[in-house]
């Protein structure tokens, strides 16, 4: 008998005007000691299955049909199902521990809720659990508070917490999405070990095919609430049958080799038109401003760049303490190239981007754009002329567009500000063309940002950046918030724009396979300093710096 058997499960969210079916007729099973990978893009219903098994569906969601059996028994009839039989590991380790209690308090409380133990026994058990999840010196660390642990360590504590009640089944909902790659690999190994050594069934919910390929025994692929394909991991990865799985796998950037474009194999079951290829009908975008000098040498030169943040304030300057976000950074960006800037969270890569974009002023060093030192430009007119040539695309498409403005006003704002058009009708024609170029169509201008999906919003963001006719584009993790198939489309669009408009791009990412596909040269940052800067192929094939080597070896691959 299977540990968990889900039969014909349907979950509905009735709303005012219609009923949204989040999960449609899904049948799944998990055995003891097995890891089932549940993949799909956002909105596919994969997390909903997890919450339905836990009995934690948010109102007004309800199980409209089918059954969930644990060891053949209806899950809803099992007393203390949560904890005793099924545990959960959440995505964000920063928020899934209570900051006011020590790790010991949280663990022993959970142990004593589920098992008859004295306080001392529970404490010993907690220490041994921490030890098992790979926390060194568990005896002392258990007395600490969650904020004293790093992100990866905290996720280990969360896993220990899930093990407290000796569950049969663990649902891990995107357990490594919030973590850096180097930590991700360790956490996945840990989950793998636990499943084998303890005979626990695991449902690993994720959007990341690389994670699945490394960890899961079997894979179930979800699309729009329905299960489209299920099978052994190797079979799904190497010989997918369903067209959706094929398109999903094709869109995953490969770390092993460089492609010209991502295959635009987009699965459209309902016959919706595929996203159009870019057409540059108008030459407004290609016309140059009169203030651009076509010099030689690198477009951007960064020399001795440094920035520090105040960590402790004091009245006397000598008592203040600072942390170096970026320290003594030197690099060039050549005309027409795509320079990748990679590093883990906290490495200072976004701070560099913001300094070049002019949002933050550097504390030390200089940034030279097209031969002009940006800090030494006196007249505001000249500074604006320079700024116009540098534009930025942001990470989070949900916060980078003003929710109270129409799309056409968002795209028109840089045109107005730089007085790039003479009349209102010319502006609206340019805005229409820009929206056409990024593949949204001029009609999109009348809508508000919330009417668009994440990928479409990122296209609006690109249209806004192009509206000043920039020469240099800074992309700060432009696709990290997007699904892989959308990511492929956006990256293709950026490549096309770069070719058509002769753009120079600074491409910031933590995702090495994406960087390999996009960039001509790559700079690796760690703790605010540059580790290595090399041609992309050279860097990936023969990394010189030990840190780069480590990053590349941890790169998830299919």
């Amino acid at each position: 008998m299977s540990l968990l058997a889900i039969k014909n499960l349907t979950v509905e969210y009735p709303s005012r005007k219609s009923t949204f079916t989040a999960v449609r007729d899904v049948t799944l099973s998990v055995e003891r000691g097995e890891i089932l990978g549940l993949v799909g893009e956002s909105g596919a219903g994969k997390s909903t299955i997890g919450t339905a098994v836990m009995g934690l569906l948010d109102a007004p969601g309800r199980v409209a049909g089918g059954e969930i059996l644990i060891d053949g028994q209806d899950a809803r009839s099992i007393a203390n199902l949560r904890g005793a039989r099924v545990s959960m590991i959440f995505q964000d380790p920063l928020t899934s521990l209570n900051p006011l209690y020590t790790v010991a308090q949280q663990l022993t409380e959970t142990i004593r809720t589920h098992r008859r133990m004295t306080r001392a026994e529970a404490h010993d058990e907690a220490v041994s659990l921490l030890d098992q999840v790979g926390i060194a010196d568990a005896e002392t660390r258990i007395t600490q508070y969650p904020h004293q642990f790093s992100g990866g360590m905290r996720q280990r504590v969360v896993i220990a917490l899930a093990l407290c009640s000796q569950p049969d089944l663990i649902i891990a909902d995107e357990p490594t999405t919030a973590l850096d790659v180097s930590v991700q690999a360790q956490i996945l190994d840990l989950i793998r070990d636990l499943a084998v050594s303890r005979g626990v069934g695991v449902i690993l919910v994720t959007h990341d095919m690389g994670v699945i390929a490394q960890t899961a025994d079997r894979v179930a692929v979800m699309y729009h609430g329905a299960l489209v394909e299920e099978g052994k991991t190797a079979q799904i990865i190497h010989d997918p049958q369903h067209p959706y799985t094929q398109s999903l796998l094709a869109a995953v950037p490969r770390g092993e080799r460089k492609l010209d474009r991502f295959p635009s194999l987009t699965y459209q079951p309902d016959g919706a038109p595929a996203p159009q290829e870019m057409t540059l009908t108008d030459d407004w975008l290609r016309s140059k401003g009169k203030d651009e000098n076509q010099g030689t040498g690198p477009l951007v030169q960064v020399r001795g760049l440094g920035m520090r943040f105040l960590t402790r304030n004091a009245i006397l300057p000598k008592n203040r303490s600072y942390i170096d976000a970026v320290k003594d950074l030197n690099f060039d960006i050549n005309r027409g190239e795509v320079l990748g800037l990679v590093g883990e969270s906290g490495s200072g890569k976004s701070t560099v981007a913001r300094m070049i974009a002019g949002i933050h002023a550097p504390d030390t060093g200089s940034i030279t754009f097209d031969g002009q030192d940006m800090a030494k430009i006196a007249s505001s007119h000249e500074r604006q002329a320079l700024r116009r040539q540098i534009q930025m695309i942001f990470q989070d498409p949900y916060s980078s567009l003003n929710p109270r403005m129409r799309v056409r006003d968002i795209v028109a704002e840089p045109i107005h500000h730089n007085r790039l058009s003479e009349t209102a009708s010319e502006t609206s024609r340019i805005v229409g063309d820009l929206l056409e170029v990024v593949g949204l169509g001029a009609a999109a201008g009348a809508k508000f940002p919330h009417e668009f999906s994440g990928g479409q919003r990122q296209r609006i963001s690109i249209a806004r950046a192009l509206a000043t006719r920039p020469r240099f584009l800074i992309c700060d993790e432009p696709t990290s918030a997007l699904d892989v198939s959308i990511q492929a489309q956006i990256l293709n669009l950026l490549k096309d724009l770069r070719d058509a408009l002769d753009l120079t791009i600074l491409f910031i990412s933590h995702d090495l396979p994406v960087v390999r596909q996009m960039c001509d040269r790559v700079a690796v940052m760690r703790n605010g300093q540059l580790c290595e800067l090399a041609e992309t192929e050279a860097l990936f094939e023969a990394p010189r710096d030990p840190y780069t080597r480590e990053l590349i070896s941890l790169m998830p691959s299919l």
Binding site: D396, P403, R404
Partner: protein, 309 residues
Amino acid sequence: MNPERSPNLIMRLLDSDAGYKFRSSPVTVVAGLVFVLMIGAALLAPVIAPFDPFDKGSIDLMNSLLPPAWNSGGDPAFLLGTDNQGRDLFSTILYGTRTSVFVGAVSVSLAVVAGLFLGLLAGYFGGLVDAIIMRIVDIQMTFPAIMVALLIDGVTRSFLSRDQHDELAVFVIILAMALSIWPQVARTVRASAMVEKSREYVMAAQVIGRGPWLIMARHILPNVMGPVLVIATINLGVAILGEATLSFLGLGIPAGEPSLGTLIRIGNDFIFSGERWMLIYPGLTLALLVLSVNLLGDWLRDVLDPKSR
């Protein structure tokens, strides 16, 4: 504009999310109706009211202290009875509501304008600007509205003649209420502005080269208006109550002019001599008005809260 939507503006409003939340809560619907009815009656007081309480010629002392029309001894001409000066209570309540709503609306508007401006400055610039503005807010918050009113009242009394003072009384109350409300608005706006400032659309505007004033006006202001509207409605109730309190204490609106506060003050003197209607009806009006405003404020908060969507 949009062909598939129903053409009628009212139908469209009722069909929107806000309209749906409004329709699906009977309490809100009743509060809305009461509010519209009372505001309408107050605005149309000169048309609806059977008597003009400011017209000394129409007041007859012989008619004083008549009970409501349905009681024995009541006169059908005076629906809710009369007060000690012989004024028709129904008419004075209508005019009184007018004064109260005027004081509430103007003082809240002033407070919102001041609070928005200073709150945006504090939230956007931070640092020293923030420190100075927020310390002023903290100091202001230590003074209760009544004390501020007493202070202003005392100061104005010292250099104005009695007639001038009576004329300006309404504005003393408005100023006092506005001064006691603006710190709340400023705090809310500052907190929201700090959140909005850290969003990437503000950064995008900075990259375009927009200056701080335009960013505040075009990008941050529209996004902090939601909480401000909620604070404003709830404080409309506070301001109306504040006016009533101050008038009841004899500050501000002179006894000769009807406001809900002055009416309650007069009624209070007669509560033990049996003429309870003089206290009950103005009091009930005030309670209903404030309650309906607060309930509408709750609804507005639900509608505008992005988390509840």
